[in-house]
């Protein structure tokens, strides 16, 4: 029987590295978009009224 132990571990950990890298990338991106800045509280007020939102034609 072929031993797939190390290929499976490499597969899993490369997936983990991909996700950790992705998380780091999007975290930095979220910082640039001001999610931890002075306007970061706006979404919490907006969501309270999301059932009354009018549709915007794109």
């Amino acid at each position: 029987m072929q031993d797939y132990v190390y290929p499976s571990i490499y597969f899993s950990y490369s997936l983990f590295a991909l996700l950790a890298g992705g998380a780091l990338y999007f975290f930095v991106k979220s910082l640039k978009h001001g999610y931890l800045g002075k306007d970061s509280e706006e979404p919490k007020y907006r969501m309270l009224h999301d059932d009354e939102q009018p549709e915007v034609r794109k």
Binding site: D3, L19, G34, Y35, P43, M47, Q53, K58
Partner: protein, 468 residues
């Protein structure tokens, strides 16, 4: 605070124009109705299993009704049939509203719901027949695993395309959690159901535990928190305490959670460095957990009186307390000294049930109670019955959790004493399992009252139109 809310509304209404947005919610309804049906059916199986602990010869030797067949069906039915399906349904409800656009494709959503139901029904048949891969939480046979991957891609495409067409740049924290859930589930599910088949021995066990722990930590936790972050402000009509803190909670969860699974294998044959890493990351979990819980408690400051007659809020805030307790237990369980006592004992199902039932199912039930009347433009069939469902589930749950924690410690201490024959430690736990069975009956009554209330709400929707 109210001034800021009004300011936000003014900004919104002046910025927008055009016809009012009406959400279809067909997909959300499909998912929620079917998930509640599975909650009831699998609840019967759960009580049957609890009874088998006390009366092992119950149902005789009918192969389809043996413990080995029913237990995987209970686990998969509750995780994928009830909870994940309910979470997906609630995601289909929340995301379009938070993005202020319609769902990208209701047709694709309904197709996803049909495929998901086919998977669950296939799981019922295959697991009762004994077609089982023999890996915890990953019991489903390969064809169904592949179908789950296809359904998840369909779900992910629909949600991401909806988010891509959103009206506002800044996304509310629930959207971040739902996006995280979709990506992490892909990673966790592929590892736990496919990569694990190519590994052997200790490596296979390590991969399997990474999957089992992260199934709760990177699938049900993020989507459960997305629901809590949405419905706690909604149900209490109070803005979240801090959106910034919620983002800190999200990112700390994203970086910390994935390494914790190995704490279920301490004192086993895995490498010491991996054990130490899992302990360190498990303890670090206290950071995202406390960030989340503090945010919810601070949101409720001055609003606790609302719990008196607001059933969804009762479920939500009880769920938050259970979440805090669960996530305090987790890091403590990962410490080598504590682990030496409780690992592999009945303490673990006590802990896992508090996470999946006490925290995340409570969030999902609250979401159903909030969403169903709005989706069907009606009012809840019975507030009193909703209240009964809460107390049944609360007392049933508490009875279950507490007796298993105590029983687990007791079991662990006995196992650590080599002079006690193993079979004596099994016999000693019978009183614990009797309490577990009667707690299960209470929980099942909670499920029945919840399911009946939702069914009566939907069937009588035309007789009780919601006030405009």
């Amino acid at each position: 605070m109210p001034e800021e809310i009004n300011k936000s509304v003014d900004t919104r209404s002046s910025a927008a124009s055009g016809p009012a947005l009406v959400h279809d919610d067909t997909t959300a309804k499909w998912f929620l109705i079917s998930s509640i049906a599975y909650f009831f059916i699998v609840g019967i199986i759960a009580v049957t299993i609890a009874a088998k602990f006390v009366w092992p010869s119950l149902l005789g030797t009918v192969q389809y009704l043996t413990y080995g067949r029913l237990r995987p069906l209970h686990v998969n039915g509750m995780l994928f049939g009830w909870l994940l399906a309910a979470d997906m349904g609630l995601s289909f409800f929340m995301v379009p509203r938070l993005c202020a656009v319609k769902l990208w494709s209701e047709k694709l959503g309904v197709a996803t719901a049909i495929l998901w139901n086919a998977i669950i029904l296939g799981a019922v048949v295959s697991l009762l027949m004994g077609w089982n891969q023999g890996l915890e939480y990953a019991e489903l046979p390969m064809p169904l695993d592949i179908a789950v991957v296809v359904a998840w891609i369909m779900f992910g495409v629909n949600i991401f395309m909806t988010i891509a067409s959103r009206k506002y740049d800044q996304m509310y924290v629930s959207i971040w959690y739902i996006m995280g859930t979709i990506l992490w589930t892909a990673f966790v599910y592929l590892t736990g159901n496919f990569a694990v088949l190519f590994a052997t021995g200790t490596n296979q066990a390590n991969l399997n535990w990474m999957y089992v722990h992260n199934a709760v930590g990177l699938i049900f936790t993020p989507v459960g928190l997305a629901i809590a972050y949405y419905f706690i402000p909604k149900a209490s009509n109070t803005p979240l305490y801090s959106h910034k803190l919620s983002m800190i909670g999200f990112w700390s969860l994203a970086f910390v959670y994935v390494w914790t699974g190995a704490h279920h294998m301490l004192h086993g044959p895995i490498s010491q460095w991996l054990q130490t890493i899992s302990i360190a990351f498990s303890v670090m979990l206290l950071i995202p957990v406390w960030a989340v819980v503090y945010n919810f408690f601070a949101t409720m400051k001055g609003q606790w009186h609302q719990l008196k007659d607001n059933v969804p809020l009762k479920f939500l805030m009880s769920g938050v307390v259970f979440y805090l307790l669960t996530c305090f237990q987790g890091p403590m369980h990962s410490l080598r000294t504590v682990n030496a006592i409780v690992s592999k004992t009945d303490w673990i199902p006590g802990h896992a049930h508090m996470a999946v039932l006490g925290a995340f199912s409570f969030f999902a039930i609250a979401g159903c109670y909030h969403m169903i009347p709005r989706a069907f433009k009606t009012t809840i069939f019975s507030e009193a019955l909703a209240n009964w469902s809460f107390w049944f589930l609360m007392f049933g749950g508490l009875g279950f959790f507490v007796t298993l924690w105590l029983g687990g410690f007791w079991q662990g201490w006995q196992w650590n004493n080599p002079s006690i024959p193993f079979i004596d430690t099994v016999i000693a736990l019978k009183p614990v399992w009797i309490v577990r069975f009667f707690s299960g009956i209470l929980m099942f009554l909670g499920i029945v009252s919840f399911g009946y209330n939702i069914m009566a709400t939907i069937l009588g929707a035309k007789d009780r139109p919601a006030a405009a």
